[in-house]
Structures are given as C-alpha cells and as structure tokens.
C-alpha cells in the first residue's frame, strides 16, 4: 500500500549533527525557500566555525528564539519535504537532550519510519539505546541507523562495522525487524542525498534513496472503524461524521455502534463532492445508517460481525509526560479519538528501564518514565491492542485540574473482569427501599481537619434523624481504617484509595435506601469530587466542618497533633499535608459552634 504522506521521526541530539542532516536533506531536495537558505548563509551563532557564505544547515531547523540562543532544539518541529514520485515526507524533529522521552514519544507517535543518529566519533551511547527502545515501543517498525560524522574518523569501515555489531543485541531484544545502517557525513554531504567516493566499501543506497524506497507495509489488522466525531444534520439528513481508520467501508455493510452494540446497515457514504460506494483508511466521510440507530459523538462504528469488544479495564503502557507524578486511584480524563471518559489507574505494574529493557517496581510514574499500568474507565470503550493498530489502541490521559496532557497510553490488552462480572439488576430498586422507610436516600459527606468535630456532628445528626423515624448510618473514617482500609497509609495515593473505598461503601448503603453520613477527613478536593460523581445530583451533599487548625490541635481528641509536633506523624492533614478547602461544599459548618446548632442547620438544609 502506498501512502501519499510518509511521516519520519529523527532521533539524536545536536551533537550528533541531526539539525545539519535534516537541513541538508531539505535544501538538497529543494524543500526550503531560497531566502531562508540565504539567511542560513549569512547568520551565524556564536562559536560557529562554518565559513561565511556556506550554508549553516543547522539554522534551518532550529526554531524558537530561546532555543537558538542555547543552540539546542527543545521542542518537536515539523518540516515538509517533497519526494520523487509525488509523495510527501513530513519530518518530526525530536530533540535529543532533556525531556527526550517525552519529545521523542510525541514525534514517534505518528511516524512510519525513524532515523536514529549515531555520532561515529563517539560510538554508541546510552541515548542510542533509548531512541531504539522508544521507537519500538511507539510502533515505529522501520528504522535507519544513520552513522554520521564518518569524515571525522577517516571514513573508516571498521568504525561503521563496530557500531553495527554493538547494536545487534538491542535490536534483537526489541524485535526490530526492518533496520538498515547508512554511513554518512551530513556536514560534507556524503551519502545523504548524493553518493560519495569517500566510502568505496559501502555500496548501499544513500539516505534519501533509502527513504524513498520505503513503503508502508500493510499490517495484518485492516478492519474499518469510524470514530463518530459529530452528528451531521441537514434537511432530511442525519449522518455520522468521522474519519475511517484501518480498512474499508462500503454501502450495504452491516455495522455495529459501539459501545451500545446496536446494529444497522450503511445506506449512504456522503461527502461534499458526492456519495461514495466505498471509502477507506484516512477518508473523512459521513455515514448514514439504516435504520437510523442512536449514535453519538465518541461512539465507534465497526463491521457488525467483526466488532471489537468494548471493555472498561485495560493493561497499557504509559509514557508519563506530566510534571507531577502519575499516582494510582487518581482520576484522569482518558481521550481516545473523539471518546472522552474519566479513568483511574488502578495499579502500576512496573516501570521500564529504557536503557536495558528491565522492569523495575514502582509506586508512581515520574516525568519521562514509561510504565505498564492497569486502568479502569467509567464506562466501556472500544480500544484494541496498540500493536494491532496504533490509531485504535492509543489514548491520552488529561489532568482534570490543569487539563494538560499528562500521559500517552498504548493498550496492551483489555482485562475482561468487567465482562465476567456483569452488573446484576435487582427488581427492588433504591427508590422502593427508601420509600418503604418513608425517606429519600442521600449521602451527607462531612469533610474537615482531624479534630474539627466531624464524628461528633455525625453522631448527633444520626441521633436526631433516628428520633425523626429515619434510617441512617454513619461511616466513620477511623472505623473504616480499622477494617476495610487497614492496608492503607496516609500518602497522597493511599488517601485517594481510602476515599474511593469509603465512597463505594457509602454508595451501597445509599442504594439500600439509607441516609448515609460519612465522617472523613478527605483532604483533597479531587477525591471528594470523585466521590460526588458516584451519585445523582442532589443526593450527595458535601459539608465542610470548618474549624481553625489551632482549635483542632488544642482539642486533639486522639493525640495526633502531639505526635505530629513530635515528628512522629509526618502526614497529618493541616500539619504535614495540606487540606484543600471545600469550595464545592453545599454547606459550611462552623466547627467551633454548638453541636445542636450544627445539627439543626443540617436538618433544615437537607431534610426539610
């Protein structure tokens, strides 16, 4: 299959002569405007040894002002280059210095091919192994190892062979099948676009020849899929607009809408220029289904008899891009195609040592680390293994507070727990149970510092509700930690898991029709928001028991503040750890006031 646009990632650092190599490729294929070339003849960075009047090729690709000052490339840049036979090469130039993993992953994610630069004067370095590892991981299966600066080692065949030999083991371990070695001098122009007399021992293609000969292999998986981006409406028209990924759809195909699994036939493939009988990978179309089954943005259309099985649990490799660590139990937005859904990392299996391929144990993933994790999404999504198709098996993780893209994920496989444990629906529902007790089920979530008075208020509230003939139950954080949560500590991650478990228990009690009173420090706004998300609006009330830290420390009913002061309790909220104020609370109670007044306030607000 011939793709009109080939995407190429270049890996290496400025020291390897990468910018010079790309600059020369661009200039010698007429892909740079003349005035830009002229500028590269006159402008010089300080310390440059390139003769005035010669082109400083590296100036053509180094982009931003700050980077040029430092003489390094710090962000991925994209360049277009025309090839013979009418194809287009888009080069993603990945910087080799700091942030290498993150930038390389970005550049490699869409690339079909990779150029991995090795400086012949320095030989194989750790970064070469990293580059190969990341390329292999991101699914770049064709690689040219460009051994540069051979002019600096007298065009020695031995140096070339040593490097080839030295990479053999890594290449075998990573199972890279399509790899080629090209000896070049980017500076002198040997073997880049034009051949050379300087290396008579090499009779292979020049780098450009090699790139042009490359063809994108048709991989095994070629089933069509359409990510529904939007519903297209016009007079007497309702269609599903999206881009086809993977294979070919034709009018008359029996398709399934995922995750709902409703089936229909394609009755029309509409485009601006007229209807098509069939459309394949990469084509942006609008599908009309017959019957017009319910489908919405984020749904996926596949052939009905070969539809993938949506799942809500996955094992995935994640490249961590965020500045703050990935922690399990924290909720992120998972975005894949047009699907956006909350997801939590339930387990970090290991972190990959990208220098030697070994798996190390880890509790968190830090910036630039790559790990294998397990994820749970809020609802089933149709992701398939990345190895089968990178555009159907990728996702990004987005931090819910900053909305930054913090993780790049590649699905290994779905964990079929959700398929084995399907939700059981009972005939008697929550409303029936609550109705029998003459009440409405709800959750009152008391949050605040240790010693703020949560448990006291919870206890008094239950007594009051009891006397009103209602059925309530108190879930107390301390009591929970004696049983269900006794394996948890007080780190950020463990607190998140603590809140998650308590909120799930609260949900069961709520479902039983009870008024559930939770008394839990729950210091992080995000964790509380996640608990809230389990319940229908109006049935969950966050109540902040607001008591100054000094008052809590003075009360100190459990002696915790004394311990903290003595340095025995580093994670006490309000002392060693922060309490994030409850801005979203439905009610704020002054914890220094009288308990009876607090209860009265609660009854008035939520039970009358």
């Amino acid at each position: 299959m011939e793709k009109p646009i080939i995407r190429l990632v270049t890996c290496g650092s400025v020291d390897d002569g990468k910018s010079t190599l790309i600059g020369r490729l661009l200039v010698e294929t007429d892909s740079v405007p003349d005035d830009t070339v002229d500028a590269a003849k006159s402008v010089r960075r300080s310390g440059s040894t390139i003769k005035a009047g010669d082109i400083d090729f590296s100036l053509l690709t180094d982009g931003l002002e700050a980077e040029r000052e430092q003489g390094i490339t710090i962000d991925v840049a994209y360049r277009s280059m025309n090839l013979l036979n009418g194809r287009r090469l888009i080069i993603a130039d990945a910087p080799g210095h700091e942030q290498y993993t993150r930038n390389m992953a970005v550049a490699a994610s869409r690339s079909d091919f990779a150029l991995v630069l090795v400086d012949a004067t320095r030989g194989i370095r750790t970064q070469t192994l990293r580059h190969l590892t990341i390329c292999s991981l991101m699914g770049v299966t064709k690689i040219a190892v460009v051994i540069n600066k051979l002019d600096g080692v007298g065009y020695s065949e031995q140096v070339y062979k040593d490097i080839q030999e030295g990479l053999k083991e890594t290449i075998e371990r990573l199972d890279i099948k399509n790899i080629h070695f090209v000896p070049v001098s980017a500076l002198a122009g040997d073997n880049v676009v034009y051949g050379t007399e300087n290396m008579p021992w090499y009779d292979g293609p020049t780098l450009l020849e090699y790139i042009q000969e490359w063809d994108v292999e048709d991989k095994g998986e070629n089933l069509p899929r359409l990510n529904v981006q939007m519903i297209s409406r016009a007079e007497n028209f309702r269609g599903l607009a999206g881009t086809i990924v993977g294979g070919k759809f034709a009018v008359g195909d029996e398709v399934a809408v995922l995750p709902s699994k409703k089936t229909a036939k394609i009755s029309q493939i509409a485009t601006f220029s007229g209807d098509l009988k069939e459309a394949e990978d990469g084509k942006a179309v609008t599908l009309v289904l017959e019957p017009d089954v319910d489908a919405t943005r984020g749904d996926v259309i596949e052939l009905a008899d070969k539809a993938s099985l949506p799942a809500d649990r996955f094992a995935a490799t994640v490249v961590w891009l965020g500045e703050t660590d990935l922690i399990h139990s924290k909720s992120y937005f998972l975005i894949s195609g047009s699907t956006q859904i909350p997801a939590i990392v339930t387990n970090i299996r290991h972190v990959l040592n990208i220098n030697n391929g070994e798996h190390d144990a880890a509790r968190v993933l830090k910036t630039n680390e790559i790990g294998v994790v397990e994820l749970a999404t809020d609802a089933p999504v149709a992701l398939i293994p990345y190895k089968q198709n990178r555009f159907k098996g990728n996702f990004i993780l987005v931090d819910r507070a900053t909305m930054n893209t913090v993780g790049a994920g590649m699905v290994k496989h779905s964990l079929r727990r959700s398929a084995n444990v399907s939700e059981h629906h009972y005939d008697i529902d929550r409303d029936a149970r609550a109705g029998q007790k003459n009440q409405k089920a709800k959750v009152i979530w008391l949050t605040g510092l240790s010693g703020s008075g949560k448990s006291t208020i919870a206890n008094a509230l239950e007594k009051e509700l009891f006397s009103l003939g209602m059925h309530a139950y108190v879930l107390d954080g301390d009591n929970m930690r004696l049983g269900l949560n006794k394996d948890l500590g007080f780190t950020r991650e463990d607190r998140a898991e603590n809140v998650r478990r308590v909120s799930e228990v609260a949900h069961s009690l709520y479902d039983a029709g009870l008024v559930t009173i939770v008394a839990l420090v729950s210091p992080y706004a995000e964790d509380r928001a996640q608990a809230r998300a389990l319940f229908p609006e109006g049935d969950f009330a966050e109540v902040w028991v607001k008591t100054p830290a000094e008052v809590c420390a003075e009360r100190d009913p459990k002696g915790l503040y004394k311990k903290a002061a003595a340095g025995e309790l580093p994670n006490l909220t309000g002392v060693g750890q922060e309490y994030e104020v409850a801005d979203s609370a439905e009610l704020v109670i002054d914890g220094t006031g009288l308990v009876d007044e607090s209860v009265e306030l609660l009854i008035e607000k939520f039970f009358s």
Binding site: Y78, N85, S273
Partner: protein, 304 residues
C-alpha cells in the same frame, strides 16, 4: 533533482486530515469561531470547512479583523463570499486605535500590527466569548510555527507560552480547557504554500482578484512596490503613482503589502509563477522583516 510537488494524492490526504480537525473543533468546543483574513489560506480554510460539514452548514461564524487599511478589493471579495456561501460574518475593528490616530504610517509596522490586529483579535474573541479560534497558519511559514501544535492552548489573556505547549500525539487531540484558557486551532498546519496554490487550482476555489496580475497604481518604497489603494496613502512631494502590472502573493493592509511584477492572470499562471519563484511569501510582507523572531514575539502576545 526533479521533485513532484503537491500531487493530487498528497492534497487529498491533507484535505482529509484538515476535515478531521475541523469536525473535532466544531464538536468539542462550546463556541468556536473561524478567523477569516480574506487571503488564499483563508479561502482554502473556508473551502475545507464547507467540505467538513456538508451537507450541513458551517456550524460557527467567521470573524474578520478589519484594520480599515485592507485593500478595497479584499472587503468587496469578503462580502461577496459571505453572501455566496451564506456563513455568518463578524467584523472586528479596534476603534480605540483609530480614534488614537493609529495608522500604518504613525508607527513601526510591528507595533501597528499589535494594536490594530492582535488587540482587536483578543477583543473580538473576548466580546463573543469564543473558546476556540480556527486559523490558517501553516508550519512551513516561519520557524516558530514549525513547532506549534495543531490544537494550541492560550493562557488567560490569550498568551501563547511556547515553553508549556501540550504534547500532541497520534491524531488524538486534547480539546479540554482549564478556566480562562482558550484554544487556537490550525487545521492546515501540515500544508505548504505550494499545496495551498495547487489545491486552489485543483478545486477551482475563488480567491481575491488581487492575486492576479493587473495594471495597478504603485509607488516605490525602498525596493518594495506599494499599491496606492486610496487617497489616505501619503505620497512624497511631487510623487505620482506609476501604473504597473503587478499582483500580490499575500494580502494584508495595503500600505504594508508589497506587490510583485507579474503577468499571471489565471490560476494556472499563478501556480507556475509561485512554483518557479519559490521566494518565501513573507519576505514580501513588511512586518516580519522587523526583527528575527518577530513572529514568535507576536504570537506570545496573542497574534495568530
């Protein structure tokens, strides 16, 4: 070495990618807008938007930042195009700037651009509460643009921070916004200038007549030919415009946009000329020559 430029299959692939980005923007944002500058890139952008949403209408308005110094033929073309395709057209002008007497002659080109274009653009986006603005920038235009994302976040105040761009992987775009952030979206990032021209030719897209050679009144400013489009242009003592057969490779404010000698009266001839000339289009626009890296500076302030 003979290279084939902008083959139909490349243009088709680029078109499909752009449509995907258009649809994603229309569906994922609360209130998007498309910036319409009347130039060739905007004409292609408009054509792609029509393709993306057919048979439905373009689901967002188009906004033109009018400095009041545009070529007259640009404004008439703009209004005709809006009428022909029936899209909602918003026009935004920095009236305070005009009141303060700001013209292309009262100050340096880059400060003029900042006040009349960047400030007006920010005000227009704020006024209507747009959370995403679609623009026609391309990565081949200029070096700092080579690193810009397709979905590019703007911090409060529309600032662009090149140091904290979101990583963009695969074709998976992150359209989520934190409070007060907005998004700029560049659906034709991967297109080159020659792709634009060849696509206009292939698709028979209407562009402003200013792109075609015609006898026009010009004066020389340095080595640049400036068309005297109205009587606001300050002529030197005794200077009379000369009539010369010129066309424009880019469009903007007429006192800041130089023409080139040309006989290209049809799109075929324009494409042939552009292909042969291969001089960076922005070299004919005066503002970018101000200082190296001026584009990056303007962008950090909120310019497109």
């Amino acid at each position: 070495m003979e290279t084939v430029i902008s083959s139909p299959s490349v243009l088709e692939a680029l078109e499909n990618e752009s449509i995907e980005i258009f649809r994603e923007t229309a569906a994922a944002f609360r209130k998007p807008v498309m910036l319409y500058s009347i130039g060739k890139d905007s004409s292609v952008l408009l054509h792609l938007a029509r393709k993306a949403f057919a048979p439905g209408p373009i689901p967002f308005p188009l906004m033109h930042i009018d400095t009041t110094w545009k070529f007259k033929e640009m404004i008439s073309f703009r209004d005709e195009t809006a009428k022909e395709h029936g899209f909602e057209l918003l026009v935004q002008t920095n009236h305070d700037g005009i009141k303060d007497g700001i013209t292309p002659f009262s100050m340096g080109a880059s400060e003029y651009t900042r006040i009349m274009k960047t400030v007006a653009l920010r005000a227009g986006l704020d006024k209507h509460g747009f959370d995403a603005a679609i623009g026609g920038s391309r990565r081949d235009e200029e070096r700092s643009r080579a690193k810009e994302r397709i979905l590019s976040v703007r911090e409060p105040g529309h600032r662009w921070d090149p140091r904290s761009q979101r990583p963009e992987l695969w074709r998976t775009y992150n359209p989520r916004l934190a409070p007060e952030q907005t998004m700029r979206v560049f659906p034709i990032s991967d297109w080159t200038e020659l792709d634009i021209w060849n696509y206009i030719l292939q698709e028979n897209i209407k562009v402003s007549p200013l792109y075609f050679a015609k006898e026009r009144p010009i004066v020389w400013r340095g080595s640049q030919m400036i068309m005297v489009d109205d009587d606001r242009y300050p002529l030197k003592d005794g200077e009379t415009p000369e009539i010369r057969r010129i066309r424009f490779r880019t469009l903007g404010c007429y006192p800041l946009t130089a023409g080139v000698d040309s006989d290209a009266t049809t799109m075929e001839k324009v494409v042939k000329e552009v292909t042969e000339l291969k001089l960076s289009e922005r070299a004919t626009r005066l503002i970018d020559g101000d200082k190296e890296d001026s584009m990056e500076k303007k962008k950090t302030e909120g310019y497109f």
